[in-house]
């Protein structure tokens, strides 16, 4: 980890990029990375923590092999996002924000992905699934299970 942070930019303005890179590499922001980044960029740990908790893109807990994000923004909400979310929760046996015990799936919600016309929408390992129906949920999960993780968060 020391090395991967060392190779990063040394400019304080690059904090968000650095956090993205760490998130990409590890699937989350480990506590150790915060102190490494703090030393490297000379930003205090609490400021880094402030930034990373502000953005949904960063996670403090390890995420599963596959990440499923359900949009629960207003447009998706009125088009049935809660039902889609329920279905994912039931099928995966986890609540939104949790990771399955086998570390295969992380389920998250997001407030808008800017694709309201396609709502309700879910993003599975970077792939957008628009105008979802509850019966399509199984298929999405099956597809994820049969592939290795390739997309980004």
């Amino acid at each position: 980890m020391e090395k991967s942070v060392d190779e990063l930019e040394k400019d304080q303005r690059e904090l968000i990029h650095v956090l993205h890179d760490v998130q990409e590499e590890f699937g989350y922001i480990p506590a150790q990375a915060i102190s490494q980044i703090s030393k490297q960029l000379k930003i205090s740990e609490s400021e880094i923590f402030g930034v990373l908790t502000f953005y949904k893109a960063f996670s403090l807990k390890p995420r599963g092999e596959h990440l499923i994000t359900i949009c629960v923004g207003t447009a998706c909400h009125v088009r049935g996002a809660p039902m889609i979310l329920d279905e994912f929760e039931r099928k995966l046996g986890i609540k939104a924000g949790e990771t399955s015990e086998d570390n295969q799936f992380t389920l998250e919600t997001v407030n808008c992905v800017g694709a309201c016309a396609l709502g309700p929408i879910a993003i599975a390992d970077g792939e957008y699934h628009g105008q979802l129906k509850t019966r399509k949920v199984d298929k999405i999960i099956d597809k994820l299970m049969s592939t290795k993780r390739n997309g980004s968060d």
Binding site: I34, S38, S44, E45, S46, I48, F49, G50, T53, F54
Partner: protein, 854 residues
């Protein structure tokens, strides 16, 4: 520049915000997030105003006044908006009491029910009566909140020393975040999460203890609500008296405001304005004053030893006893140890008493081992042009700052605030330190030299500087030729091996020094308190001279400079403090008058020991007489701070028990011993004599000190600019088989007279226990030691104990320890540090071995 606010014409000289201009002219605008020491934030939106010709409602705290502006601050629409904003703020703050119609009548009857876990209203709030939210609610006459009340049910954080954090009361004004970041540079606090979840917090919600907090209390002081509250004050009623004094716990000389009730101190805060500290202090000034003044260890009655036991007696009996016994000794048989923490007046009388009544020149004090003395010696020996006086604010004007031998946020907090100000304005900071310091985050270059290798480090920096400089025109300065030639002896490969600093760090530093226009070289006790301290300083002096920068000597004790001046002009004939320490153990001194620090007298071979102090410690077991001295809080007097600024202060409470000021005790004793000229009535009489006898205090009077904050010690700067040829010194012994570790000793000031503050305060013990032996994770692993284990530290000259504290700040092979004059004898580093045969020097780098103790 002219502006009109609410019809009032206001003339402005410099750039100011509308809010500042209005307040200075008696026009009040409500605000919650604005603070005089902080940059504009415009978060609470309560300070909105209307400006003629401008749309909307700009916040006055972040809008600067422009010529011809017409501002209205209290139109009906503004007041309506403000009330609505305040109602929104109150919807997330317990508001039942704030808008209660009976609030006027309530406090009086309900003030005793504060001992509840949760604060659900003002009557249960520790901040009741100090709260700015209460003031704003009153000012805007808000009597209802039309939004649903939300209690956030956040956990109340009580795990840290000194203050509790209850973010259920927080209005997210961000003052604490900003003061921590902008002013103190600790950056422990941040806004975390966002939207409705937003809360002020630390990294990973850790306790402050694990987040780099210095516990300066600045966040508590700026908090407008009860979210951050001092624990010790929680259940206290409001103070009945407030008085100003000067903090005695380090050389900054911060102005404090002490609140008391019925003659008991409740709290000490930085005076909001004025003083060198301008509203800031450190953990000691903020949270320790009450503890030390009202310590259960205070000596309250005179005592003399009768039949092997110390017995309480009257002043007369005690003084008669001491006078009678002391008369038997004179000259070399007797010594007096003076403190550099008592007032100038006390110090002056102690000196006069020793010479007249004890008939001895053996007047020892920590002054002789301070950076001031080492610096003065070098200046006099070489005939350099250099003074000791300076102004702290000059430091923030430098473009390059070079720091060595002091951990500023801990040892010189107000100097640190100036350094931080400079760095934030673009100055570059270079830090030379074997240990990693918290301030390194702000350093452009960190020179991590091996302990004790500063001569090589600084001299090679001079060489690197000269090599990268085109022509500095130094040849006109005396001694440049031989200095330059002496640097030829320095070979980089050897320097690299000695210091452990890579070449690029030298080059970076040289470049920064070249670029910067003005420079400041700050040094503390860490650089000078060892036998080669003078050479360290000479090397730093050369480097500074190449840059035409000045050296800032940073001593530690609150009245070090005062004590230094009181002794100035007298020849240095007597024994120094380290020699006194050895002499009382060898038996060559028979009687000791201990009015200052000297621990570990258990094995001393003396016939007669008098202790004049404020607190009980181990040495009392050996004492024949104990004379209770008043603390700074109970006396009038003057301290001279690190700048050379003479500050007068007055007592804030009455005398405790039968304790008396030091000058009173010693002059009474002198009279009892039959000496004339000790009939002082009060502090003023002593001051009068000081201004007559002490050159640095000539033309100083009480009246002058009362009316002027800018009185400095009088000094004449003579001498000339001159380079001192480089002479290599032997680096501390290569760590051998027998003593494989180097102990680097920090000289901090966590003591007051004969009290170790860490013994008195559990909170301070959690932050930095003087008994910690800090050790690197690598060494701890190798020695199989864990945090808290008791260890025995063994050196050529002696042994001591400590508790393991594993710290990543230390490099492998180096252990860190704290030198404290008044630590209990088991834990005292004095025997280790005083072992050398160098007069006026104590070792701060000692080869040791460590093994597990019991």
């Amino acid at each position: 520049m002219k502006i009109i606010i609410d019809g009032k014409r206001i003339e402005l000289d410099d750039k100011k915000t509308i809010l500042e201009a209005a307040r200075e002219n008696g026009i009040s605008i409500p605000s919650l997030c604005d603070h005089q020491r902080l940059s504009p934030f415009a978060g609470c939106r309560l300070c909105i105003v209307q400006i003629k010709g401008r749309k909307g409602y700009p916040p006055s705290c972040s809008t600067y006044a422009e010529d011809g502006m017409e501002v209205k601050t209290k139109t009906p629409s503004l007041q309506r908006l403000r009330r609505e904003i305040l109602e929104l703020i109150l919807s997330e703050h317990p508001n039942a009491c704030l808008i209660c119609t009976e609030k006027e009548n309530c406090d009086e009857f309900k003030s005793t029910i504060r001992k509840v876990g949760e604060t659900t209203g003002c009557v249960l709030c520790p901040n009741n009566g100090h709260c700015e939210l209460q003031d704003v609610v009153d000012a805007l006459k808000v009597d209802k909140v039309r939004f649903p009340s939300v209690y956030r049910e956040l956990e109340i954080k009580k795990e840290d020393p000194f203050f509790d954090r209850n973010y259920n009361l927080c209005i997210l004004c961000g003052r604490c975040v900003r003061v921590c970041h902008e002013v103190r540079g600790a950056s422990t606090l941040s806004f975390t999460y966002r939207g409705s979840q937003a809360v002020v917090g630390t990294v990973l919600d850790r306790p402050h203890l694990e987040s780099g907090c210095q516990f300066c209390g600045a966040c508590v002081d700026v908090c407008p609500t009860g979210a951050l509250s001092e624990r010790a004050l929680k259940y206290e009623s409001l103070a009945d008296d407030t008085a100003a004094t000067i903090c005695p716990l380090c050389s900054m000389g911060c102005k404090l405001e002490v609140e008391s009730k019925d003659g008991r101190i409740l709290s000490s805060r930085p005076a909001p304005e004025g003083g060198v500290n301008r509203g800031q202090v450190c953990v000691k000034g903020r949270f320790m004053i009450k503890n030390l003044v009202h310590s259960p260890r205070r000596i309250l009655k005179p005592m003399i030893r009768k039949d092997k036991e110390l017995e309480e007696v009257t002043w007369d009996e005690a003084l008669d006893f001491v006078a009678c016994r002391l008369k038997k000794y004179k000259g070399k048989e007797v010594a007096l140890v003076a403190s550099s923490q008592v007032t100038c007046e006390d110090n002056f009388i102690l000196q006069k008493f020793s010479r007249a009544a004890l008939r001895t020149e053996n007047i020892a004090s920590p002054v002789s081992v301070s950076p001031l003395s080492t610096y003065r010696e070098l200046v006099q020996e070489q005939g350099l042009k250099a003074g000791l006086n300076f102004r702290i604010e000059d430091i923030s004007k430098a473009n390059v700052l070079f720091l060595s031998g002091a951990d500023l946020p801990v040892s010189h907090p107000i100097v640190w605030l100036e350094v931080l100000k400079a760095v934030k304005a673009g100055a570059k900071l270079v830090v030379a330190s074997p240990q990693e310091l918290s301030l390194n985050r702000y350093a452009s270059v960190w020179l991590r030299n091996k302990p004790g290798t500063e001569v090589a480090l600084f001299s090679y920096l001079s060489k690197a500087f000269l090599e990268s400089e085109e022509d500095g025109g130094h040849s006109r300065v005396e001694g440049f030729g031989s200095f330059k030639k002496s640097l030829d002896k320095l070979d980089f490969s050897q320097v690299a091996q000695t210091t452990g600093v890579p070449k690029e760090k030298f080059m970076q530093t040289a470049e920064l020094l070249l670029e910067g226009e003005t420079s400041a070289f700050l040094f503390g006790a860490g650089l000078t308190q060892n036998p080669w301290g003078a050479q360290n300083l000479a090397a730093l002096h050369n480097l500074a001279l190449l840059k035409s920068g000045r050296l800032y000597p940073l001593g530690l004790e609150n009245n070090l400079r005062g004590a230094f001046e009181m002794n100035n002009g007298h020849s240095d004939k007597g024994l120094s403090i380290d020699q006194v320490f050895r002499a009382v153990h060898s038996g060559s001194i028979k009687a000791l008058y201990l009015a200052g620090p000297l621990p570990d007298l258990q094995k001393a071979k003396i016939e007669f020991l008098v202790i004049q102090g404020s607190f009980m410690n181990d040495n009392m077991e050996k004492a024949d007489a104990v004379l209770p001295a008043a603390t700074f809080a109970e006396t009038d007097g003057t301290f001279v701070n690190v700048e050379g600024r003479i500050q007068k202060f007055q007592k804030v409470i009455g005398l405790s028990g039968e304790a008396q000021p030091d000058w009173w005790i010693t002059s009474r004793l002198a009279k009892k011993m039959g000496h004339e000229g000790f009939g002082y009535k009060n502090q003023a009489a002593v001051m009068k004599e000081i201004s007559r006898d002490i050159p640095g205090f000539s033309k100083i009077s009480n009246t002058k000190l009362d009316n002027d904050d800018e009185v400095f010690v009088h000094e004449e700067v003579k001498g000339k600019e001159k380079f001192i040829p480089f002479k290599p010194v032997l680096a501390p012994e290569e760590t051998g088989q027998k003593y494989p570790l180097l102990m680097s000793v920090d000289y901090n000031l966590d003591y007051y007279r004969n009290l170790a503050l860490t013994q008195e305060s559990k909170g301070l013990r959690m932050i930095r226990d003087s008994r910690w032996i800090k050790i690197s994770p690598e060494d701890a692993k190798r020695l199989k030691l864990n945090d808290g284990d008791t260890v025995v530290v063994d050196s050529v000259s002696g042994k001591t104990q400590g508790r393991v504290r594993i710290s990543g700040a230390l490099p492998k092979g180096v252990v860190g320890a704290n030198f404290l004059w008044n630590e209990d004898s088991d834990f005292s580093l004095v025997p280790l540090s005083f072992s050398s045969s160098f007069k006026n020097h104590i070792l701060n780098i000692i080869p040791v071995k460590i093994k597990r103790g019991k």
